[in-house]
């Protein structure tokens, strides 16, 4: 964008057009003709950057980016949204959550947004601190923070709970739906549809950015060793993604499968020990958790430890999770596993649009379908 004053420091440097073209030509020079490269960007943040900056047009034709499941609201199964809606409508709580969660389709044609229109007190917050503040200002109301997201958002939830406990806030609780990244990556690689059995080819991962700030680069070593897939941890800026693709192409060409850290300005091998300790104090792994698209995955999500039971909305309101089947025609499940592209779905862009999403991938700007609809459908060549 044309700017009149100094640019945004530490951001614009990673959106430099000239550098992007240099990187693009380096990638083009690196790829071997006749060979196909298929990389999964795990995170919705990468999906968004790729679509937002039109990066696929800068990549050679034999490099394909496959969207991964790393969009927090996309992997939330409907049954979890139903729990939040019940809290708002049946239990009369003030339900606080992050914006994208409000529009995720739930059972019975509802969403949190529609529950709000039906009288539910649903509030969008930017931070867990906002939810805490709402609890402090409404001592006569129950306030529930609907906590979603990968390891990126988990420490903030843990911190708010520690704070609530310290302050003795009795009207605050958390509906914990935090999920973990490594089990999802493992599931994608271990799934039978992936080579050598056929299906979608994944030659490497653009590894998570913000998640890795928290958990570090070490948890990905197993994917390099056990599955022989290179992982390049990369930031969410467009040059980060291009640099990661270049590093992945080099690894593939050399037959290597290493964990490389492109996002060294923020990610340490051991991550952020303080954040990890905070999470560990409040949460423990669930035996199993249902993901949209990936199904039940063992040890793949977090629940609230016994010591914090008083802050656990599932216990406080005796909520029971009930799985719900997704819409028959919706291909979110296959899209989240990298098996299909958004435009392969029969209802993409017609029945299912960002204004009227059927599946969760059409909701968040990080979702593969919404990103393709909003930024990329000019490439589809159909009216």
């Amino acid at each position: 964008m044309r700017q009149h004053e100094p640019a945004m420091k530490y951001i614009d440097e990673f959106r430099d057009g000239a550098l992007a073209r240099t990187l693009a030509s380096k990638i083009a020079a690196q790829v071997q003709p006749g060979r196909h490269y298929s990389f999964m960007e795990f995170c919705g943040g990468h999906t968004h950057a790729i679509s937002r900056y039109g990066l696929t047009e800068l990549l050679p034709h034999n490099v394909r980016m496959v969207h991964g499941p790393g969009c927090p609201v996309c992997v939330l199964p409907m049954g979890r949204i139903d729990m939040a809606i019940r809290l708002a409508l049946d239990h009369g709580v003030i339900l606080c959550t992050y914006a994208d969660t409000l529009r995720v389709p739930a059972s019975g044609g509802l969403s949190l947004m529609k529950a709000k229109a039906r009288g539910g007190d649903v509030r969008m917050v930017y931070a867990t601190q906002d939810a805490l503040q709402i609890a402090r200002s409404n001592p006569d109301r129950q306030v529930v923070f609907f906590a979603i997201g990968f390891e990126t958002t988990t420490p903030a939830t843990a911190l708010a709970m520690l704070q609530a406990q310290r302050e003795g806030l009795t009207n605050f609780s958390v509906l914990c739906c935090h999920v973990l990244t490594p089990p999802a990556m493992r599931q994608i690689l271990a799934a039978p549809e992936h080579p050598p059995g056929g299906g979608v080819q994944i030659d490497g991962f653009v590894g998570p950015a913000h998640v890795s700030i928290v958990i570090g680069s070490q948890p990905y070593e197993v994917f390099a060793r056990q599955f022989h897939k290179p992982v390049v941890i990369a930031g969410f800026e467009p040059l980060d993604v291009l640099q990661a693709v270049w590093l992945l192409v080099r690894q593939v060409n050399a037959g290597r499968a290493d964990v490389e850290n492109e996002f060294a300005r923020a990610v340490l091998p051991g991550g952020n020990p303080k954040a990890q300790a905070c999470m560990d104090e409040v949460f423990e792994k669930r035996d199993t958790f249902e993901w949209r698209g990936l199904g039940e995955l063992p040890q793949s999500a977090l629940k609230i430890r016994e010591a914090f039971a008083a802050l656990d909305a599932e216990r406080r309101f005796q909520l029971v999770y009930q799985p719900v089947l997704d819409h028959k025609a919706c291909e979110c499940a296959a899209i989240l596993r990298g098996m299909k592209r958004p435009q392969d779905c029969a209802i993409f862009g017609s029945v299912c649009t960002p204004d009227n999403p059927v599946g969760s991938c059409m909701v968040s700007s990080e979702g593969a379908c919404a990103a393709h609809y909003s930024y990329g459908r000019h490439q589809d060549g159909v009216a």
């Binding site: 700017q3 009149h4 100094p6 959106r15 073209r21 693009a24 467009p238």
Partner: protein
């Protein structure tokens, strides 16, 4: 102490508040109108004191002219924001709806929905701002209406303004007139209003040194039209920002557009605020900017006319109109890739105007 016969205690503009009697159609309401609305907005038409104002038939260059009517409701929250308040905004909003039609604004009407408990001092300041900007624009508020709703049933004050303007024969600036080959201009930096409002929202608490761009655009439009450039379409990109406005025009005209991201003027502070709020400045509201679609041959003439006006110094050519049956608005990103510029789903910033 003696009290003069017929003495009526004046409105307490310092500590008083709107109460239900102010909407009851009786003495308290008459007093509010006389001591607050008429004091600021008073003119011969308003002074007629009837339910409607009797206005002379519009003439333009000695000929009866076409009338343009526009109406616009304002529910902005908060009521006061850097660079304006709901009063100035409600005048600018409607004047701009007339301006982008190419009309010269003549009269305004204003309807107020007041919430019980609104401090009269706030209302006074709001109406004073309306009067100031209406006077600066040379457009009187000729009639109005006041209603009061119970506490909790409104949010301070909502204002609906209606504007009447005249349009010269032969001028047609409809959204259906964009043609392939036309160029797209904007009159200045985008997203200022939305970010100024966001910076004041309770739950966000960030301080951005940014003022709303709220302004009346009919002067800028007059200067642009006087340049003789072949202007096909004008719009003010309010809610939904540039993205919504260009998509509307593209669909009305049955064309596509290709923008250049690097050409779009955006203040760094707005870009930075949008960055951490997760917004695209192209989706953020403006209240004092023009989108201009004009014939390619006249692009420089139009640009020069815009830049010669104080409200257009940052004007820029940002793209072109293309033939595209799908009516897609696309952009070449600063990185050289292409993407769509789509309508935003939902409202990132509710109650922005």
């Amino acid at each position: 102490m003696s009290v003069k016969p017929g003495y009526v205690r004046p409105l307490d503009l310092k500590n008083g508040r709107v109460d239900m009697t102010h909407g009851a159609g009786a003495r308290a309401m008459a007093q509010l109108i006389a001591e607050l609305f008429a004091r600021h907005l008073g003119n011969a038409y308003l002074g007629q004191g009837n339910d409607g104002a009797v206005l002379p038939a519009p003439m333009l260059n000695g000929q009866p002219a076409r009338l343009v009517v526009a109406t616009d409701g304002h529910v902005v929250s908060p009521l006061f924001f850097p660079g304006g308040n709901i009063g100035s905004l409600s005048v600018h909003g409607t004047l701009n709806d007339l301006a982008v039609m190419g009309a010269t604004p003549l009269y305004l009407a204003a309807g107020f929905i007041l919430e019980e408990g609104l401090p009269l001092a706030d209302l006074d300041q709001i109406v004073l701002s309306m009067a100031d900007v209406a006077r600066a624009a040379g457009v009187p508020v000729v009639t109005g209406d006041t209603k009061v709703v119970e506490r909790g049933k409104g949010d301070g004050v909502f204002i609906t303004t209606t504007g009447v303007g005249v349009l010269p024969d032969g001028l047609d600036l409809g959204g259906a007139r964009a043609r392939p080959g036309d160029v797209v201009l904007v009159s200045g930096t985008l997203g200022d209003h939305g970010v100024a409002i966001m910076s004041q929202r309770d739950h966000l608490s960030f301080s951005a040194p940014i003022l709303s761009d709220s302004a009346a655009l009919h002067g800028l439009v007059a200067q642009l039209l006087a340049s003789g450039a072949d202007i096909h379409c004008l719009r003010d990109p309010t809610r939904g920002g540039l993205a919504a406005t260009l998509n509307e025009i593209a669909h009305q005209s049955g064309v596509g557009m290709m923008l250049q991201e690097s050409a779009i003027p955006i203040k760094p502070v707005v870009a930075a605020a949008c960055e951490f709020l997760g917004l695209d400045p192209l989706n953020v509201a403006n209240e004092g900017k023009l989108v201009v679609i004009c014939a390619a041959a006249d692009a420089q003439r139009a640009l020069a006319a815009l830049q010669a006006h104080p409200l257009g110094v940052d004007a820029a050519v940002i793209g072109e109109v293309r033939a595209d049956a799908r009516c897609f608005v696309q952009i070449t990103t600063a990185l050289g890739g292409r993407r769509m510029v789509d309508w935003l789903t939902g409202d990132a910033l509710p109650r922005i105007c």
